[in-house]
C-alpha cells in the first residue's frame, strides 16, 4: 500500500514537471554592472586600471610610489580590495590620495557592483585616474570585469617564472604586466626573459615593463604608460559631457 501511494505521487509529480530554457551566462549580471561602470568612466574621461597579482607581489608599495609621483599633476583616487583590514587604504591615504577600502570578507575578488558603489562614494573628478587594487589572488579576479580600461598584472621576481602558465586566465585577461622587484634579480635565479616568454605564450599582445618600486627602475616608463592612458581617456570623452 505504502509503495503504491508513493508511485502514484511520483506520477502526479511527473505531470507537473516542465523544462524552462534559460541560456544565460553566469557572469551576465556582473558584466552588466561592469558595462555601467565603463559608461560612467568614459563619459567622465576617467582612466581606470584594475591591478591584480598574488599576495606579496609589492602591489601596494608600487601603488604608493605611483601616487607620490603623479599626485601633483594628476587627479587620482584609489579603490582598495582586501578580505580584511583598513591597512592598505591607510597607506594610500598617507601617500596623499583619496581611497576607499572594500573588505570582501570571505570573498576572494572585487565585483563590478562593489566597485560601482565605491566609485559613487568617492565622487571621482572628471579626467582623473582611478586605480583599483584587487584582492591578492591570481585566480578569481580574472573572471570579474569591473569596467576598467585595462587589467594590469604584477608579477614579482621572487615568485616562479612559470606563474603565467600556472595561472593563465589572469595573464590572458591582462593588457600589461609589471615585472616587479627587478632590483633583486642579481640575488636570485629568476630568469626574467623566460617569465616574459611564458606570459606571451598565454597572451602574445601583453605589454611588459620591468620595474622596481623600491629602486625606481622602470617607474618612468610605467608613469608614461599611465599618462598616455589618461590623455586618451580625456580625448575619447564624448562631446556631450564636455563642460
Amino acid at each position: 500500500m505504502h509503495f503504491r501511494s508513493r508511485e502514484a505521487k511520483a506520477e502526479t509529480d511527473v505531470s507537473t514537471l516542465r523544462i524552462v530554457k534559460l541560456e544565460q551566462d553566469l557572469l551576465a549580471k556582473n558584466n552588466g554592472y561592469a558595462e555601467a561602470n565603463r559608461r560612467y568612466l568614459s563619459a567622465h574621461g576617467i582612466f581606470a586600471l584594475n591591478l591584480v597579482s598574488s599576495p606579496g607581489s609589492g602591489k601596494t608599495t608600487l601603488l604608493v610610489k605611483t601616487i607620490a609621483a603623479l599626485n601633483e599633476t594628476q587627479p587620482l583616487a584609489v579603490i582598495e580590495g582586501d578580505q580584511q583590514t583598513e591597512n592598505d587604504a591607510a597607506r594610500i591615504r598617507a601617500a596623499g590620495a583619496p581611497a576607499i577600502q572594500i573588505n570582501t570578507g570571505k570573498g576572494c575578488h572585487l565585483d563590478a557592483q562593489m566597485v560601482g558603489q565605491a566609485m559613487q562614494q568617492l565622487g571621482l573628478p572628471n579626467d582623473s585616474l582611478l586605480l583599483i587594487e584587487n584582492v591578492g589572488n591570481l585566480v578569481c579576479p580574472a573572471s570579474f570585469d569591473l569596467g576598467e580600461a585595462h587589467k594590469v598584472v604584477i608579477l614579482s621576481v621572487t615568485e616562479g617564472e612559470d606563474k603565467p602558465l600556472k595561472y593563465p586566465d589572469m595573464f590572458r585577461a591582462a593588457d600589461l604586466m609589471l615585472l616587479n622587484k627587478c632590483d633583486l634579480l642579481p640575488h636570485l635565479e629568476f630568469d626574467a626573459d623566460l617569465a616574459i616568454e611564458y606570459a606571451r605564450r598565454i597572451n602574445p599582445r601583453l605589454q611588459v615593463i620591468r620595474i622596481s618600486a623600491t629602486s625606481g627602475a622602470g617607474m618612468p616608463e610605467w608613469l608614461e604608460w599611465i599618462k598616455d592612458g589618461c590623455r586618451n581617456a580625456v580625448a575619447a570623452k564624448p562631446e556631450a559631457s564636455l563642460g
Binding site: D13, T16, L17, R18, I19, V20, K21, L22, E23, Q24, D25, L26, L27, A28, K29, N30, K106, G107, C108, H109, D111, V139, C140, A142, S143, F144, P164, L165, P168, D169, R172, Y198, R200, R201, I202, P204
Partner: protein
C-alpha cells in the same frame, strides 16, 4: 573560491526566472561549462549545494555539460581543439591563439514544477 559567487549568480538567475515564469521548485539545472572556463567544478557543486539551501532550488540536481575548448591560430587561421590556454597551434607552432569556444559558463535549462 569565486565558485561561491558563481553559485550565487546561478541561484539569482534561477530565482529571477522563477518569478517571471511562475515556478516554485527546481528539480534539475543543466549548466554548460567550457573546458577553458576559469572554474573548479567540484567547488561549484559544493557552492551550489550551500547557496541553494532554503531556496526554490534546494536539492536540485546539477547536471554539468562540459564543452570542448576551441582555438584559432592568429597566424595560419587554423581552427583546432584547445585543451589549455598555453597551447600553441598544432599546424604552425605559433602561440598567438584566439580562444573561439569553450571558455564560458551558462545555465542552459531547468526542469521545474
Amino acid at each position: 573560491m569565486h565558485e561561491i559567487s558563481l553559485a550565487e549568480s546561478m541561484l539569482q538567475l534561477i530565482e529571477d526566472a522563477g518569478h517571471q515564469q511562475g515556478f516554485t521548485r527546481v528539480k534539475t539545472v543543466w549548466l554548460e561549462i567550457g573546458q577553458l572556463a576559469c572554474v573548479e567544478q567540484e567547488s561549484l557543486r559544493f557552492g551550489f549545494d550551500v547557496v541553494t539551501r532554503g531556496s526554490i532550488a534546494e536539492q536540485a540536481r546539477l547536471e554539468i555539460i562540459e564543452t570542448a575548448g576551441q582555438g584559432r591560430c592568429g597566424k595560419c587561421a587554423q581552427s583546432f581543439p584547445l585543451t589549455a590556454l598555453y597551447e600553441s597551434c598544432p599546424a604552425c607552432g605559433n602561440y598567438d591563439v584566439e580562444v573561439t569556444g569553450g571558455d564560458g559558463m551558462r545555465v542552459k535549462e531547468l526542469e521545474v514544477e
